[in-house]
Symmetry: none
Subunit: 203 residues, 4 copies
Amino acid sequence: MTTPPNARPRVRATASKKRLFEASMRLLGTRGPNATSVDEIAQMAGVSKGTVYYNFGSKDEMIGQVLEFGADMLVTELKRAAEHPAPRTALREMATIAIDFVEKYPSFAQIWISEQLRPESDWGDQITPVYSRVISTLVEVLERLVILAPEEKQPAATAIFGAAMFSARMRTVSDTVADREVTLNAVLNSVDGLLATHQHVQS
Amino acid sequence: MTTPPNARPRVRATASKKRLFEASMRLLGTRGPNATSVDEIAQMAGVSKGTVYYNFGSKDEMIGQVLEFGADMLVTELKRAAEHPAPRTALREMATIAIDFVEKYPSFAQIWISEQLRPESDWGDQITPVYSRVISTLVEVLERLVILAPEEKQPAATAIFGAAMFSARMRTVSDTVADREVTLNAVLNSVDGLLATHQHVQS
Amino acid sequence: MTTPPNARPRVRATASKKRLFEASMRLLGTRGPNATSVDEIAQMAGVSKGTVYYNFGSKDEMIGQVLEFGADMLVTELKRAAEHPAPRTALREMATIAIDFVEKYPSFAQIWISEQLRPESDWGDQITPVYSRVISTLVEVLERLVILAPEEKQPAATAIFGAAMFSARMRTVSDTVADREVTLNAVLNSVDGLLATHQHVQS
Amino acid sequence: MTTPPNARPRVRATASKKRLFEASMRLLGTRGPNATSVDEIAQMAGVSKGTVYYNFGSKDEMIGQVLEFGADMLVTELKRAAEHPAPRTALREMATIAIDFVEKYPSFAQIWISEQLRPESDWGDQITPVYSRVISTLVEVLERLVILAPEEKQPAATAIFGAAMFSARMRTVSDTVADREVTLNAVLNSVDGLLATHQHVQS
DNA sequence: GATGAATGAGACTTCATTCAT
DNA sequence: GATGAATGAAGTCTCATTCAT
């Protein structure tokens, strides 16, 4: 993190860390954290195993940082889309972003969906935020769309999030890849259901 | 391998086998398959480690059988609920069953959601059926509810399944347990969305 | 071992033991004692694993008995051949017997050659006799053929035994099976060497 | 698997690797590969069990390398002795080398004799060559000694090899250790038999 | 006489982590 | 900054043996 005056060491350090980051992203989602060994990550990054510990301190710390990085990427994009003035359009764009993100980084969706639910996950600190940050963003948009009782808000958002993540991930797994637009509409059924059963917010 | 009891499968199951089954169910979901050791399962079942191998041959085989058993339980119940003449009521009951099942056996939801999505899971043969069997049942009910284009069917069912599983599991994890009825309605938003945007089937 | 008055149990007992014997013979030579499990032997014999312990008490005891049985078979035949009045003919017949025996029961040759040499073999008590009984028979015949110094006797016999066993076993393993007669002559070279370098015994 | 040091094989061998090699040599022959555990080897070498896997990858790989190393040692010496201009002297020296080698490394003789004959040995790739390389060297020398029919060559060499290995190994096992010279002569009886019954090669 | 469920010691192997260089 | 040799705890699995039935 420090920025010493001599450039070369910093460049090399950054290079190693960056390569480890990239290798982690690729392997973590393909095989999951448990099935991926530090050896493999180091080998794919082209550095020695010790370098992992020099740069990150532990395997869990590295995974945590990778997960956090990915989470920031997704949440940032989602928040930007949430700002669209028309709430239904905002939701459509958010779903699109989620679907595309999962297609681009199946890794993260995998880990989030699977590990997020595991109560005593080692990366809980990095993972839970993904869910809660997305949910709170979703709730904000939903509040601009329909009038919801307080206790309805989080469940409604959770259902949409679950539908989106699950549908998106399934596209990347199943043999018959569903059309992106069709998947998007299926996810948005949830939104349309809300619109059909709840009073709309006046713009 | 040692003299496997495949002569008359499951007839007169040993007490040991039953106890291992129960211990597996409890531990598998709490910690996930990878994080649960054969030692722990055997210890919780009150038998020796060798007994696991005498009865199941391998850890994977045992996990597979446990998963299969749970899947049969859920799918059987879902299929019965699906037979309700009114399709929307059928879907409501199916969602209720799923939510209750997850509450009763958080284990299975955990494994299904997390492992199902992992392409090269070792228990793929036992797991994939859970998804596909549920989806095909869901599709049958949806076909009785609204008129769907062929390519819409699976995505619509997947979105509902994802919403239900994710919401149900989230209830068992989060601090503020959402009300069961509210969760149910949130899941059914997806169904109501379909009803709002598609032509209804004449009864 | 006891012979109870009612015939049926004895017949069954004999049957189990006999079948275990045969299964052992077949497996022991193919895979060696260490690589052959009690399970496999029992399974091939069509009896339960417990029957092995009921009949023999232990794996080692069973192997020992099987080895002893084979040894008796060979030694008995060799001793009969050794009685031929012409010593060289006796030796030729003994070698023939050994070669044929190895061809018929590659198992025994395998175990004898390999385990015999292992100092702390578990079956030492049953195996060593094979070697010493054959050697002493050989020595007796050699003494009728040439005049040997006392210290020459055992080494000469050992060399012949080694040549015979090794050559015989090699025939059953190698791709290009050597002609039986040619192998026999190669083994008898040792005898002819003795005749060429030592004083003959007057008949 | 963990970062195997195959970059520059054997250059600058670690002290650990060398010590494991030596411990393996000592234990492998005393007890045979199956009866020797990785734990024992590591303990005798004074390193941890993990070091075995770091350096060799597996037990079989380690055994294979040890066997190969020993085979090279013996074959190299035999080939040098085989170059002696007088073929009978060459054979006598070869037999001497074999006897001494077995006395020094009873281990290898043990494994070669016992495992070589086992068709489906796991170390077949390392072991078979021992036999065939020695046999072909022996045949070359025999061809310089007497005129042999093509089909006689390999059997003659095999008989000599068997006599030598067996006699040598027997010396290290039996209580009454035969004199080295006497054993040597017993082995060479085979050669003298060839000389007595076949036409000599003109020098 | 025979069975087979159960056992537990011990085997091979993996892998996150440490540390001297 | 980085390396890679070394470690040891922990994991999966095998198998000879015991014992109640």
